[in-house]
Symmetry: C2
Subunit: 229 residues, 2 copies
């Protein structure tokens, strides 16, 4: 397909614009800004670490997230701290949302070159409370589907009381970067003959067998989307 | 052993004192402050998310950590941002260091009650640069051993040049809390007969088979501490 090839050669991939905050101070060769790389890392996970500032000090909390196009959503009780703070903040609450996949432990001959294989995305921006009911409902579906694709259609949707008790905040993907390390150890040439084993321990991924709830109603079978991960 | 029972009843376990920052605004029953719970969660991991404030906005970065008694250590290039900032900050850089283990995905009959089984530790405090050479060397050993126990003794120690290029920061365990969720879904009584499967998807843990470096010297065997994880 030469025409497609020509198009790809002349059209650079869509990418986020690097900023002072998204260009790392070291290992710049590990950074990426193209949509494809950033979205792939975000779509593989569902737990992020959300940072915000409270009384001048940082707070970092683990929480679920979902991506819908160029928007990230986080939800929580209307009583939880970052969600309350977002509701009050004008023009939005400054946050940093980070997603990290640890892929392997890198063992080098030298202690200094021990490392980690990982892929991470760091998003900076202002979080806004979602007030539109339809956007809120879609975000809540996305938060369930981010964890298990197709699950929101196979569970009872939130009722009015549950919707009122849940706050959703949005963070647009704009100032964002990906960073990754892959491959084996990078030892010094003079260390290559040392007797220490060197290589990578890859982390196990995925799930063990699903454990049914003790009070699962008789006859409820494990759905197909859980047997084919 | 009635005497032991009596002792346990009168001697409360050592615990960190809860503060305004370490008492969660919701799900307080999930919080714990005893040393045993906090240390066990920290000791099981080696990747944290470190938060700090730069120009008034939060920054959250994944990095390795190690625990030595009541101290946590983080290291990095002397050129990296949080380490440079710590070196300049008096009386220390305000940070929040969070460690999270995701144990399982909780699928409920209702979308609202979907949840995550996890154990996390959140540490607030001031980070200080480690300047004592002996403490720095011990911290670097601990950082390697936190990932693979015993590994620091089976690798070439850092030389003077590598030590000079590496900065280590310390964060004392003082203002710290653990939080955990375990068990199955907590559905509403009226949802129990819905046809949706409910239960837990436990995450796979541990490592796949070790992958030797492509240029591993002949005759270097996989050490015992990597074959018995």
């Amino acid at each position: 397909m030469p025409e497609t090839g020509t198009q790809q050669a002349t059209t650079p991939p869509a990418a986020y614009t690097p900023t002072d905050r998204t260009v790392p101070s070291r290992s710049r060769e590990r950074a990426a800004y193209d949509h494809e790389t950033v979205h792939a890392i975000l779509d593989e996970g569902y737990v992020c670490h959300l940072g915000f500032v409270r009384d001048g000090a940082p707070v970092v909390l683990p929480t679920l997230y979902a991506r819908v196009g160029d928007r990230l959503y986080v939800h929580g009780s209307t009583g939880s701290r970052p969600l309350r703070m977002t509701g009050k903040a004008e023009p939005g609450l400054p946050v940093c949302l980070t997603v990290t996949h640890v892929d392997g432990v890198v063992l080098a001959r030298s202690a200094f070159h021990h490392s980690m294989n990982y892929r991470s995305v760091v998003v900076h921006g202002l979080a806004h409370q979602v007030t539109d009911p339809e956007e809120k409902r879609q975000a809540l579906d996305a938060l369930v589907d981010q964890v298990v694709a197709g699950r929101s259609a196979d569970s009872r949707p939130a009722d009015a009381k549950e919707l009122a008790a849940t706050a959703v905040i949005r963070l647009d993907l704009d100032e964002v970067s990906a960073k990754a390390r892959t491959g084996g150890p990078n030892d010094e040439p003079e260390d290559m003959t040392l007797p220490h084993w060197a290589g990578v321990l890859p982390l196990r991924k995925g799930y063990e067998a699903a454990v049914p709830a003790a009070d699962l109603a008789p006859g409820v079978e494990l759905p197909g989307y859980l047997t084919q991960p």
